[in-house]
C-alpha cells in the first residue's frame, strides 16, 4: 500500500466544459493506472487545437468520497481524470 501514488483532485469550480465530476473535487485517491495521452476535452469542446495530456484512472474509497454517508466505506470508485486536475497528496486517514 505504501507505493500508492496519492493525488488530490483540484477543488476548482470554473464555469465551462469540464469532465471532472464535481463530487470528486477536493477528494484524495490513488493512481490505479495512467492512460493516454489524450487531447484535452476542455479545449476540444470549443473547437480548439487540444493539448495531449495524461489521463489518470484514480481510485477513491467510498469513505473518502461520501464520508459518514457511505454505506460501504471500503468499496472503491474509479474515475478517469486529466492530469491537470490532479496534485500529489498525502494518503487520507483510514475510515
Amino acid at each position: 500500500m505504501t507505493d500508492r501514488q496519492y493525488m488530490r483532485v483540484r477543488a476548482d469550480m470554473p464555469p465551462g466544459h469540464v469532465r471532472t465530476p464535481g463530487y470528486l473535487r477536493g477528494k484524495i485517491g490513488w493512481v490505479e493506472r495512467t492512460l493516454g495521452p489524450f487531447p484535452n476535452p476542455e479545449q476540444l469542446a470549443y473547437g480548439l487545437n487540444a493539448q495531449a495530456l495524461p489521463l489518470m484512472r484514480v481510485r477513491f474509497s467510498m469513505a473518502e468520497v461520501w464520508g459518514d454517508a457511505s454505506e460501504t466505506p471500503t468499496d472503491t470508485i474509479d474515475a478517469e481524470i486529466y492530469s491537470h486536475w490532479l496534485e500529489p497528496a498525502e494518503a487520507p486517514h483510514a475510515p
Binding site: 465530476p21 476540444l44 473547437g47
Partner: protein
Amino acid sequence: MTNDPPFAGHRWHDMGGGAAGPVPSEQHDFSLWEKRVDALMIIASSKGHFTVDGLRRVLEDMGEDAFETMTYYERWIASVNQNLIEAGVYTTAELAQRMTQVAARGTTYGEAASD
C-alpha cells in the same frame, strides 16, 4: 465546494452524488429520426467538423430547463446543429431555407418510411 464564488461553475449536468429516485429500467426502440440524429453525429465527427466534446459543451450550455423539457435526441439535434453552424458547414440562413422547404412537403411526407 464550500467556498463557491457567485461565478461558480458547478452546473446542472454534473449530477453525480445528487438526490435521485429509482432508475427506470424499461427499454424502448428508437424512432427513425432519432437514429438519423445519431448517424448525423457520427458523420459530422468523422468528417472532423466537431467532436463529442463539442456536442457535450452545447448540451451543457442549454441548461437544466432543456433537460426537463426536451427528449434526449431533441437535445442532440439542437447541439449537432449549433456545432455545424459554428464549424461553418452551413449558415443559419441556409438552414432556414431548408427548413421552409421541408415544411412545405407537408406533415404526411415520409410517413411510410417512419417505421
